[in-house]
Amino acid sequence: MAIEGITETGQYLTFMLDEETYAIDIRQVREVLDFTEVTRVPRMPEFMRGVINLRGGVVPVVDLRLKFGMAATEKTVDTCIIIMEVIIDGNTALLGALADSVQEVLDLEPDQIEPAPKIGTRLRTDFIRGMGKKNEDFIILLDIDRVFSAEELEGVQETERQPAPGLETSETLL
């Protein structure tokens, strides 16, 4: 049973997050980097890990595990940053996503992809484009534009604003 919008053989990059295989459309992948130091941006949701220097450009990095409600990504030799092109607010932007490890590029025929199940996955069904089947394993095909839509990035789970006691104190004193 094929799903709408997928009519041709597609190529997907598969990667692991917490023992499960995920995949995104290869056309949205710019490159895969080894894990490098990420500079945190203060007051941002936890899953927004920060920014990295990509050959002189500044690219935001997102922790997919945190975004999907798993424990934060631990740094191992296999940890990668997948640089992809996403459309935010109608503009194409570069975005890095942390992955435990990157697997392979996979060809999937339309009949190998099934609609996302309504229940039984850990993530919100609207993030899932479909379920790919390879041998007996399932691969979760992500709708990456939706995962990183402007609303999602702004963060429902925004960190609490920390008060600035410094100023409050000083103002009463001045």
Binding site: E37, T39, R40, V41, P42, R43, M44, M48, G50, V51, I52, N53, G56, G57, V58, V59, P60, V62, I88, D89, N91, A93, L94, L95, F148, A150, L153, E154, G155, E158, T159, R161, Q162, A164, P165, G166, L167, T169, S170, E171, L173, L174
Partner: protein, 691 residues
């Protein structure tokens, strides 16, 4: 073709801007012949080049205005307010025509034309007839679609060309219609009569044609005979050669280029010929001294022409803005790489490398300043745009307002100027609408009837200050306070200085206008202005005295792409503070800090300075060092300290956007890449205090 139309448009926009300025000045000094001449020339140029590049509608319309100003120039029409008004609206219409390429309001245009014609001197019947007739003449002028070039065409038909029914003379006639044309027939190949085949063609032609239709059109003429002839088309003059100083090719050169004469033969012929000066001396018609002096004069003039050409070239060139943006981007990258090189060199012992790194640093600095200065524009042009705004709006409201400016030559980054325009319009509209009183109110208050709005620009370190002041009724701090409490912006018992109260008008949702007028008070308040100024990394402040006037000061950075920053670290993370607002750095030893009982104030030479712990603000968990540092910055007129771990020093900061993913990070204005590749975040000091 499109490039030229574009160039025409750009030129026309410039001329229109000039026209507006001239007209406004003309209104004040109606007898200024120089300004009248300027208006006439601007109209004339727009008409002329408009027709040349196929903007007939513009040319036709402009012609009417030109006719009127021709008479003004001749002294038969006087400059009146009505004329200036009409010409200004005509100018607006031309601008509409340029903008939309023909979709402008025609009824309005006809209205303007009719009013203009009415202005023309009526008693002269011929003149009127001419005014009627002239537009048709303009129509009859051929629309010249391309540059005028002169071509040399050699057309050598095959001997059997008549067999295909072609009449070469018809082709030549067709060429004649395309422009100025001279035809030379080469008859040297015609054989003696006994050998002549009457059905063969022995003649070939050289045609020199000056046309604007381009070589393709010429080829089209010969399209049906291309297989039966030899056709060469050479452009001998592309219409762009500088006329002054350059002379057309000499006879010998032309012959050689055409292949009719070999270079060797030409040289020989030239050598056998004496120079004019020598002939004259030989014939004793001129003395040797006279010839020598004439030659010297010639040499001198040649040199001068060459010099003049050089200066003419160096005055200015037109470059698309995006090329400049690219250049600045590249320079930004270069600055980053250079910082890396310097850092690397500092850790090496190789003296040569250090020397090279220093040289590169120097050159990069020069290159950066240069690239930035290319993007700098004078703010004066923007100022003069407002003259029109003030004139029109004050007329509508029945107020008398004069706009004066100083510091129009102050230079600012192109982007800053562009994005400054809307906020300035807003502020000036506010001044006109709410600031300046109507003439009778002013008179009653003992002020001159004409109000003044003054625009002033000046440099102040790495910033530019723009002041918009009026001598109107000022702002009543009490009214502002009441409004603010009513709207819940401040609590009733808020203890605010008068200045703080006045600056409340920049708060969101604050609009003092009790009635909505055409000009302002539509609820789009000053907070929009404040936001756009802050988006430019600038700040805004308002000072007002009731009954005396209001002054709004904008403080803007010179450039948006690169700033001087102060690099600091907190728990291993790097941050950049804008150096322009850093006052000083002081130490904060831990033992002294602990005695403070958690109060965040500092005694700097007897002055109390509040401070903020960035570590706490940003939730950085790493342990504090024994000795912390406080960077004291001046923001909004207050001194505030920011506690950091270490102060590293000044850093040339190339600003990179964090992108839409971090739109919410309001207190981080961007990021920059350090010499070792680490990303440092640039802190927006004003925004931190808002949190």
């Amino acid at each position: 073709m499109d490039v030229q139309r574009q160039a025409f448009k750009e030129e026309a926009y410039e001329l229109l801007a000039e026209l507006e300025t001239s007209l406004l000045e003309l209104e004040e000094t109606p007898d200024d012949m120089e300004q009248i001449g300027r208006v006439f020339r601007a109209m004339h140029t727009i008409k002329g080049s408009g027709a040349m590049f196929g903007f007939e509608d513009i040319a036709d319309f402009t012609h009417n205005v030109e006719t009127v100003f021709d008479q003004v120039r001749g002294g038969s029409i006087r400059v009146t307010r009505e004329l200036v008004n009409l010409t200004l609206s005509a100018r607006d219409h031309i601008k509409d025509l340029l903008d939309e390429g023909g979709g402008a309001d025609e009824i309005k245009a006809n209205g303007i034309i009719v009013s203009l014609r009415n202005l023309l001197v009526q008693d002269d019947a011929d003149e009127e007839a001419e005014a009627e007739a002239l537009p048709e003449i303009v129509h009859a002028e051929p629309a010249v679609p391309g540059p005028v070039v002169t071509c040399r065409i050699r057309f050598r038909p095959a001997p059997d060309i008549f067999a295909s029914g072609t009449n070469p003379l018809l082709l030549l006639n067709e060429l004649r219609e395309m422009g100025e044309c001279s035809v030379t027939a080469h008859t040297e190949d015609i054989p003696p009569l006994k050998d002549l085949d009457p059905e063969a063609c022995y003649i070939f032609w050289d045609i020199i044609l000056t046309t604007s239709h381009g070589t393709n059109a010429i080829k089209d003429v010969f399209i049906f005979v291309l297989d039966d002839c030899e056709l060469t088309i050479d452009i001998v003059d592309d219409g762009e050669r500088v006329v002054d100083g350059a002379h057309p090719d000499r006879l010998g050169e032309i012959l050689v280029r055409r292949g009719d004469l070999s270079d060797k033969h030409l040289q020989k012929a030239l050598e056998s010929q004496d120079r004019l000066g020598e002939i004259l001396i030989k014939e004793k018609t001129a003395s040797r001294a006279a010839v020598v002096s004439a030659l010297a004069e010639q040499e001198q003039v040649k040199k001068r022409i060459a010099q003049r050409k050089e200066t003419a070239v160096s005055t200015s060139i037109r470059v698309p803005a995006d090329k400049l943006d690219q250049l600045v981007d590249l320079v930004g990258e270069l600055v980053t790489v250079q910082a890396r090189l310097s850092e690397k060199a500092a850790t090496e012992t190789d003296a040569d490398l250090v020397a090279i790194a220093e040289e590169v640093e120097m050159l990069t600095g020069g290159l950066r300043d240069n690239a930035m200065s290319i993007r700098m524009l004078q703010i004066g042009t923007t100022f003069s745009n407002f003259k029109r705004l003030v004139r029109d709006l004050s007329g509508e409201l029945g107020k008398k307002i004069e706009l004066t400016t100083t510091g129009g030559d102050t230079e600012l980054d192109k982007t800053v100027i562009e994005r400054l325009k809307d906020p300035l319009v807003h502020i000036i509209r506010n001044s006109i609408d709410h600031g300046i009183e109507s003439p009778d109110v002013r008179k009653a208050a003992g002020k001159p009837e004409t109000g003044t709005i003054h625009l002033k620009a000046q440099h102040s370190g790495a910033n530019v200050l723009i002041e918009i002041s009026d001598n109107g009724k000022g702002i009543d701090a009490e009214v502002i306070r009441q409004k603010a409490t009513e709207k819940g912006i401040i609590p009733i018992d808020a203890d605010l200085s008068e200045r703080e109260v006045l600056n409340l008008i920049f708060s969101p949702g604050f609009s003092t206008a009790s009635k909505v007028t055409d000009l302002s008070g539509r609820g789009v308040g000053m907070d929009v202005v404040k936001n756009s100024i802050e988006a430019l990394r600038g700040s805004i402040e308002l000072v007002s005295r009731k009954g005396e006037g209001t002054t709004i000061t904008l403080k803007l950075p010179l450039t948006l792409a690169i700033i001087d920053g102060l690099l600091v670290t907190i728990g291993g993370d790097y941050f950049v503070l804008p150096l322009a607002s850093v006052d000083e750095c002081v130490e904060l030893p831990r033992n002294r800090d602990e005695k403070r009982n958690g109060r965040n104030i500092l005694n700097v030479r007897g002055e109390i300075v509040p401070f903020i712990r960035l570590r706490k603000e940003y939730g950085i968990q790493v342990d504090r060092p024994e000795l912390e540092h406080v960077v004291i910055m001046e923001t909004n007129g207050k001194r505030v300290g920011f506690v950091v771990d270490h102060v590293i020093g000044g850093h040339q900061t190339v600003i990179k956007n964090l992108g839409s993913a971090f739109k919410k990070a309001r207190d981080i204005s961007g990021a920059t890449i350090l010499g070792d590749g680490t990303v440092a975040l640039i802190i927006d000091v004003n925004k931190i205090l808002d949190f």
